[in-house]
Amino acid sequence: MAHDHDHDEEHSELSETQLRVRALETILTEKGYVDPAALDALIETYETKVGPRNGARVVAKAWSDPAYRAWLLKDANSAIASVGYAGRQGEHMVVLENTPARHNMVVCTLCSCYPWPVLGLPPVWYKSAPYRSRVVADPRGVLREFGVELPADTEIRVWDSTSEVRYLVLPMQPEGSAGWGEEKLAELVTRNSMIGTGLPKRPGALA
């Protein structure tokens, strides 16, 4: 697909789209199909409430609580719902555990399936043709573009989200963070580490 973020160079084209969407909203409102205040609430939800900090909280809890970790790996829906996250685009969750032997990565080659309740809306690169086309054939090459180099014998396991099942990667807890509280651990958890294109921050990287 075309790039989504070179909007400055495509100003006139985007103005046309802007006008088209504005007119469409007016039509749908006048016809009584949508409530503009509901649209505001939807946008506000995904701009301010639902995002990767949710997933980071789940991961941090799994790192610090072995019973929760076991529950998360066995029944992700219930374990994630117990922290308050559930619903649209996360109705059927599976959590994938990274180990020294196996590194998991998640993609949706057909569209943009992504676990919204724990990660929010997907970034542009996740929805882009380069990621969708290449990660299933050359995941190590893609990892290098994210600055990640894994041992040559680590199994790379790529999960293509072709159904309504949504996958969340449980990254390995960084060395040197044992005994930390959940809040501080969550600061180590990056969005990309929960997709599999990144690793958590190292304890020394926190300010």
Binding site: Q18, L19, V34, A38, H92, R132, V136, R140, I156, V158
Partner: protein
């Protein structure tokens, strides 16, 4: 449509993955509104998620590839509404109401947003038959090429793998997208060796899985 440009797994030539630092959820005001309109218009129940995917994807490759993500959403929404007479093409082009509204079953109100999102739209259904496969079984993705919506990516068709997870019965998108009923089927995660998909030169440490409904599979 199965040859649509959306089925990208394994395609070459799209270049490097480029990450935008500190990326915001939306890049323009129209993206916010197009996103919200799409979610809100799913609530009346005039179409299902598979119909909306099909409406986005079933377009000429050059059209799909030249549109940005939310431009595709917008085009999909316009198509779904036009097909059902909710908003006609001439209204979209004119940018104003030209025809009386059609009755809709329900409308998303602000006070219902949080609950609607929290509820979501689960696709698991009570099984009526036992599962044909169990974890560890060898299966082959059928060599099929439906002219209509499907969620079996081209790059696994005809290839053999191993059932890794059994997810229960789920709504079958190929049928649901056509309005031909949910036809719930057993859903499996099937894992393929890199070399099975990409040839002998493939990285031996790579394994790739897809989620595949029963109808996509045969014993191997």
């Amino acid at each position: 449509m199965t040859e649509g440009a959306h089925d990208m797994g394994g395609a070459r030539g799209f270049g490097e993955v480029i990450e935008e630092p500190n990326e915001p959820p939306f890049h323009a005001e129209w993206e916010r509104r197009a996103f919200a309109l799409t979610l809100a218009m799913a609530i009346p129940g005039e179409w299902n998620i598979d119909m909306s995917r099909a409406a986005r994807e079933n377009r000429p490759p050059q059209d799909y590839l030249s549109k940005s993500y939310y431009e595709i959403w917008l085009a999909g929404l316009e198509r779904l509404m036009a097909e059902r007479g909710l908003v006609a093409r001439d209204e979209i082009e004119a940018g104003r109401v030209l025809h009386p509204p059609s009755p809709i079953k329900r409308r998303l109100l602000r006070e219902d947003v949080a609950q609607a999102l929290y509820r979501g739209a689960p696709t698991a259904r009570e099984p009526t038959t036992p599962a044909r496969f169990k974890a560890g079984d060898r299966v082959r993705a059928r060599s099929i090429d439906p002219p209509t919506h499907t969620r079996l990516p081209r790059y696994v068709r005809g290839h053999a793998g191993v059932v890794e997870l059994v997810h229960g019965c789920h709504v079958f998108p190929d049928s649901n997208a056509l309005g031909a009923g949910e036809d719930p089927q057993w859903l499996y995660t099937v894992c393929f060796e890199g070399a099975e998909l990409w040839g002998a030169g493939a990285d031996p440490t790579v394994k790739v899985s897809v989620d595949a409904w029963d109808a996509y599979l045969e014993p191997a």
